[in-house]
Symmetry: C2
Subunit: 174 residues, 2 copies
């Protein structure tokens, strides 16, 4: 059975919900079952927020992420907050410029924010992130599905910019 629990995290306004919804859409098109969730609470206001996706080849009974297989963090606050329940064999992906004392030692450090700025706007950091996640999941979901979902989900006229950011993120991971 394939079950992947994926957590995207950062601050509100970084477009992580859109990235997560896009990933879930693509998983559906690729034939998987999925659940996409965000939780809200007073602790989230003005601080770290996360969006989660569960992808499975079986119907998903329990929709809660318990031990994420992949955690991606775009801010120090999100990194510190959401790193600690990661599956020991899982993949921690963190924006290169960040560090956090209480997180597991091994993490994939990637220049997500810098790359987004290079592509043109820091606002596409979510799509760079999605590219990194797509490369991490490429054994299960062909990137074409994610590209198609991006084109469907981003505001009309912004498809090219967002796909370019996605590709840059994808290419970071060999």
């Amino acid at each position: 059975m394939i079950r992947k629990e994926i957590r995207l995290s950062g601050s509100g306004g970084q477009g992580i919900i859109l990235a997560a919804v896009t990933l879930a859409d693509a998983a559906l098109e690729a034939g998987f079952y999925g659940v996409q969730t965000q939780s809200y609470g007073p602790e989230a206001r003005g601080g770290a927020s996360k969006a989660e996706v569960i992808i499975s080849d079986q119907p998903i009974d329990y929709p809660k992420v318990t031990t994420p297989d992949i955690v991606l963090a775009l801010t120090a606050q999100a990194y510190a907050k959401y790193c600690d329940d990661i599956n020991p064999g899982g993949t921690m992906i963190v924006e290169e410029s960040l560090s956090a004392d209480d997180c597991p030692e091994s993490a994939l450090r990637v220049p997500i924010l810098g790359t987004a700025r290079e592509v043109g706007k820091e606002i596409v950091a979510n799509m760079v992130s999605l590219g990194v996640l797509a490369a991490t999941l490429k054994k299960h979901i062909d990137k074409e599905f994610i590209e198609k979902s991006i084109s469907k989900r981003v505001p009309p006229g912004t498809e090219e910019l967002n796909i370019r950011a996605f590709q840059k993120g994808y290419d970071m991971i060999q």
Copy 2:
């Protein structure tokens, strides 16, 4: 304890996820805990889809909607599919032009699609729907929170259109 389980449903492309995320954002701002979820599976492809929000004044342990208090349906397929587990005391809201045999008798029938077209574009049916939901929830969440969330979540330049659609939906419910 306040716990409201809300289900928005329709077809993919009708913007129901955005409406649900916007509602959850507003609930957070209003001081509630929330969980916002969509499930994906082969049965969803090309057909009915739903987006759910749980709003509570207590931390939410179980993130699954089991007995929705409010169900809103924009298509006949979604109506037929998602009406049957509604809380017996709950509110069924359905696009006026639809009917379904196996759904509970009493439903609030509202001209959501027609109103969206009047406002200018059928694509704002999700915001008309959000207005209807806001009016239904007004004892718990002041509509101002939802208007603020709309302005933050819709593509720049479309705020006025979307707020107008929202207000039309809100005004339908006395």
